[in-house]
Symmetry: C2
Subunit: 197 residues, 2 copies
DNA sequence: GTCTATACGTCGATAGAC
DNA sequence: GTCTATCGACGTATAGAC
């Protein structure tokens, strides 16, 4: 019999992933395995038993974040909404949802961006992005409207990461409403007199 | 007198920054000072003479990238364009300009994102972003149009970083044309029937 | 099967010779 | 101004307690 009290290996793994997220958020990029292990209440060797390398731990952390984000989209899906673009609308709401504060949003994005430098993480992130794009393309919106709306949502979401300060919360809410409106009535965008003048 | 042949300290610094960029692009995040120094033709100790720490070297690299990006915007400024939104149009062109290939764009963005995890780099990036936002806000466009256009350009620019695959080059060019059109005629966006339905 | 303790190799940083 | 030599810290690997 092992040494732990009532704690399954899965619990320990989750504990370690959560500790990694917290320590990296607090200490930044240079967080050590000792820090993470101590924060989870185990030794560094104990950590290595569950995750053979630091990269594997960070890969698991990245996967949990990607799954979490996918969960946010699903949570924003409106059961009464059966019209084309329903998934895109959930995507917009998930991306533009107000976070606790700007700093938290910036740190969360910085964490993902940082993990992207690990090849294994870049790979699963790319696979996730491809699946997400496929879901969005299957959502029934005209391609050029989808591209505009997704790009705008992505850009607005990334803004805090770069540290800029373009407009406040009210303007962000207005942008969210208008992007969602475009998904409901794509002709608004398509029928603008683009080639006149 | 020192030991070098005809090379000024400034030359050596530029050489080391260029070597850092190249080695990090090739080897990824784990590039060592030895690798970078060897690639520039000096020893690790020689590198450390010019940059007291690895962070300082990477800070200089980040600054050079930020300056380079600012230069791209200035290069896209149309001398004959005096209308409101001229700086925003240059910003859009600089961000959506086709790079050599998608992989190069992704690596370039990944480099910046990776450097952002260093506190000193995050600070200068934030200062740069604030100055850029101030320039954009002073460009004479209605705030809600500016926000949409900048968010869409940012998001389209970041797309390769996440590894997704939403549409091709032609669609990107169309998006660029339409965003620029909106800066020339903001009323197109403002006068849409947002609250109807 | 789960974890602790410990040893090993590498890297960033420092000191001092030339 | 650049080098060699060396130190301390970290990621990795492993032997063994329970």
């Amino acid at each position: 019999m092992g040494r732990t009290a009532g704690r399954t290996p899965e619990d320990t793994r989750r504990l370690l992933i959560a500790a990694a997220a917290e320590v990296i958020r607090a200490r930044g990029a240079g967080a050590t395995l000792d820090d993470i292990a101590a924060h989870a209440g185990v030794s560094k060797g104990g950590l290595v038993y569950h995750f053979a390398s630091k990269d594997e731990l960070l890969r698991a952390l990245a996967q949990s974040r990607l799954d979490e984000f996918r969960g946010w989209i699903d949570a924003e899906l409106d059961p009464d909404d059966e019209a084309p673009g329903r998934y895109t609308r959930a995507y917009i709401r998930a991306l533009l949802a107000p976070e606790q504060d700007q700093a938290a949003a910036r740190e969360s994005i910085a964490l993902i961006a940082q993990l992207m430098t690990i090849p294994a993480v870049a790979e699963i992130a790319r696979a996730d992005a491809l699946r997400l794009d496929a879901d969005l393309r299957a959502d029934g919106l005209p391609p050029e409207v989808l591209r505009l709306v997704v790009a705008a949502a992505d850009g607005a979401n990334m803004a805090p990461f770069w540290g800029g300060d373009l407009g406040g919360e009210d303007e962000l809410r207005q942008l969210e409403r208008r992007l969602i409106r475009l998904t409901r009535e794509p002709a608004l965008w398509q029928n603008l007199p683009w080639d006149r003048d």
